[in-house]
């Protein structure tokens, strides 16, 4: 009986504390990665770029992803200037194709194109379709917990793996303890890990299909002093998507 009581005390009072303490950086980033990369999904998003001169440019696009972000298709709906343009990213954005409806041409882009700004925004193609990048391209270390944007957060430092060609030398990430949503991510310069290049702030967290989802995110470019706001207008998780959707043939539709 005494034995059982001791066990209950351990389970009820001690285990959660230990669990919280024992979560390593790798454990936490694994959970973040699972949250970011659901099996499949559809989203309609609005992207608003605020330029240095304060002008705004707005884009609306549909996007579909499959195999936990390994396959991605983005198709622009607005503005009219680029309506129908589409980007297909396979193998975690190692293979990128772009379709230009005005010329009916599909161009295969090399991975260096991932560094390019997506429609001049502060998001690069790499930021949009990097799949398991947090796990595969970085090693993670847990730092001292901090409060961020009013939330109790885990703080992680992700350092670029030697073999990785990702455009950031390291990331600092604040992750809400309650739901593992990374509320803030700091991206550091590719060459100089002391230079903060961009900051991503997520907000308006809602539960969609049992998955905590940040409906709004803002990327601040610290060098150019610009920002891009992304707002999800619609999100569906675990939708059934045929593999044929992620082909050049579908890209041209």
């Amino acid at each position: 009986m005494k034995k059982i009581l001791i066990s209950i005390v351990i389970i009820v009072f001690v285990a959660p504390v230990l669990y919280g303490q024992e979560l390593t950086g790798e454990d936490i980033i694994q959970k973040v990665n699972e949250l970011f990369n659901v099996e499949s999904g559809y989203a309609k998003a609005k992207m608003t770029i605020v330029t240095t001169s304060g002008q705004k440019r707005t884009f609306i696009y549909d996007s579909w992803s499959k195999n936990k972000g390994e396959k991605n298709l983005v198709r622009y709906l607005e503005p009219r200037r680029i309506k129908g343009q589409a980007v297909l990213m396979l193998n975690n954005a190692d293979d990128i194709w772009m379709f230009f409806p005005r010329t009916q041409r599909v161009r295969k882009l090399a991975t260096h194109a991932k560094k390019q700004k997506m429609q001049g925004s502060d998001f690069s193609y790499e930021d949009m379709g990097s799949g398991d990048a947090f796990i595969n391209d970085f090693s993670s270390k847990r730092l001292e917990d901090e409060k961020m944007e009013g939330n109790d957060c885990y703080k992680l430092e992700l350092t670029r793996a030697k073999e990785s060609d990702i455009s950031y030398s390291r990331l600092i990430m604040w992750i809400i303890k309650e739901n593992f949503v990374p509320i803030v991510i700091d991206y550091y310069d590719e060459k100089d890990p002391t230079v903060l290049e961009k900051r991503l702030v997520q907000s308006d967290i809602r539960i969609i299909d049992d998955i905590p989802t940040a409906m709004k995110m803002v990327m601040y470019d610290k060098n150019d002093n610009t920002q891009t706001e992304m707002e999800f207008l619609e999100i569906k998780y675990n939708v059934i998507l045929d593999d044929s959707m992620f082909t050049e043939r579908e890209l041209k539709k």
């Binding site: 770029i49 503005p79 009219r80 005005r102 010329t103 194109a113 390019q116 700004k117 043939r249």
Partner: protein, 396 residues
């Protein structure tokens, strides 16, 4: 009058059911453009306005109808004397009394550029009607594209539609077989194409065979019956291949086409290109082009070479050329670039600084200047006219 009424009746019959549907889209753009060139110490200007109206309708989940109508007006210098661009030794080839035929006219025109229906099924797409045909991986030159020739200073401008029946057959997720038939007056003269597209690792590749009649002109003889230069149609059979992928972090592509000609000399075309985006967002591209139809010495260029180049019947008259393009986003809304086109065979070069500015979500401005640095008689000689172009485009 009767003709217009018939057209209106036809359009109302065709468009009414389409417009009644929810999924009909009307869009397009208006483009106003000014182009100038310094010819014989005089700066000549040509203005144009273009209205393009696109219509796209999803008739059902797997049937799409798309069409576009272009209306273009020209103003200013609408008749360019081609002799102004040519060297005296070339002009001397012109038969006496025919000088007045060597004019490049810009006449107002309106036409149905594309109009097609596309049926999409699980394993194949069938496209019937006037449609764009884009072949090859090259940026400026496409050895395998026997349907289009790109404008050297503006290679990404849309290409015209071609009447064709096209079948794209999916062979798994990574391969496609395309068969295309572009009808002419007889089966013999009609263009036929078969293409296989696949992927190996990070490389896309395609293999193709094409047969098409190439409608050259002999610019030393005038056909009074057709009121045009004498047409010399000749059958062209092409076997080609193209690829695009990545090597050592660089984007790479190549395209090759060998042409068997009905009566004139066989030739081949080759393109090899590479590109890279630097960390500071600057994009750079280099493309090399060889066309064995081109000459190795500029003194071999003749009147037909020049006229076929100006009339865009032939992609190049010099054998080897290199295109270098550098572009940098100067601000979020402004990109500046520079194209350098070097004709290796005759050692002449053109510099083309470019500018793209996003005035608003649906308004963009594109401009370029072109400066030719080559002796008289070479591809990029000053005779070809230093100048430029500015274009404002509004999308709706």
């Amino acid at each position: 009058m009767k003709k217009w009424i018939s057209i209106l009746v036809f359009l109302s019959f065709c468009l009414s059911p389409l417009m009644a549907q929810d999924r009909v889209e009307l869009f397009g753009y208006f483009e106003s453009q000014a182009m100038g060139a310094e010819i014989k110490n005089e700066f000549l200007l040509l203005y144009s306005n273009k209205l393009r109206v696109d219509l796209k309708s999803s008739l059902s989940d797997n049937i799409i109808f798309a069409a576009n109508f272009d209306y273009i007006t020209y103003h200013g210098k609408t008749r360019w004397n081609i002799l102004d661009f040519l060297a005296p030794n070339i002009i001397s080839e012109i038969p006496q009394g025919m000088e007045s035929f060597y004019v490049l006219p810009f006449s107002n025109r309106h036409f149905l550029d594309n109009a097609y229906i596309k049926l999409s099924f699980k394993h194949f797409d069938l496209t019937v009607g006037k449609q764009q045909i884009s072949l090859g991986t090259g940026y400026v030159w496409n050895p395998t594209d026997v349907f289009n020739i790109k404008e050297l200073f503006d290679p990404i401008y849309e290409q015209p539609g071609h009447n064709a029946v096209r079948l794209d057959l999916a062979l798994g997720s990574m391969s496609t077989l395309t068969a295309l038939f572009s009808p002419e007056d007889t089966w013999e003269n009609s263009a036929k194409l078969i293409q296989f597209k696949g992927r190996i690792s990070h490389f896309d590749y395609s293999l193709m065979a094409i047969e098409k009649v190439w409608r050259f002109h002999d610019y030393t003889e005038f056909d009074m019956e057709n009121m045009n230069f004498l047409e010399l149609p000749e059958k062209r059979q092409l076997l080609g291949a193209s690829t695009a992928g990545e090597l050592l972090g660089l984007g790479v592509w190549a395209e090759y086409g060998y042409n068997w000609m009905g009566s004139s000399q066989d030739f081949y075309e080759l393109v090899v290109g590479t590109d890279y985006t630097f960390d500071f967002q600057t994009y750079m591209m280099v493309e090399y082009y060889r066309n064995t139809l081109g000459k190795t010495d500029y003194q071999q260029y003749d009147l037909n070479d020049w006229m076929r180049l100006i009339a865009m019947e032939q992609k190049a008259i010099s054998r080897d050329q290199v295109y270098v393009f550098i572009q940098h986003p100067a601000t979020d809304l402004l990109s500046i670039g520079l194209s350098i086109i070097y004709s290796i065979s005759d050692n002449s070069v053109a510099l083309v600084p470019t500018l793209n500015y996003s005035l608003s979500d649906n308004v963009e401005i594109f401009a370029y200047l072109n400066f030719n640095f080559g002796r008289e008689g070479k591809v990029f000689s000053k005779n070809m006219g230093n100048g430029g172009l500015i274009r404002a485009r509004v999308y709706f």
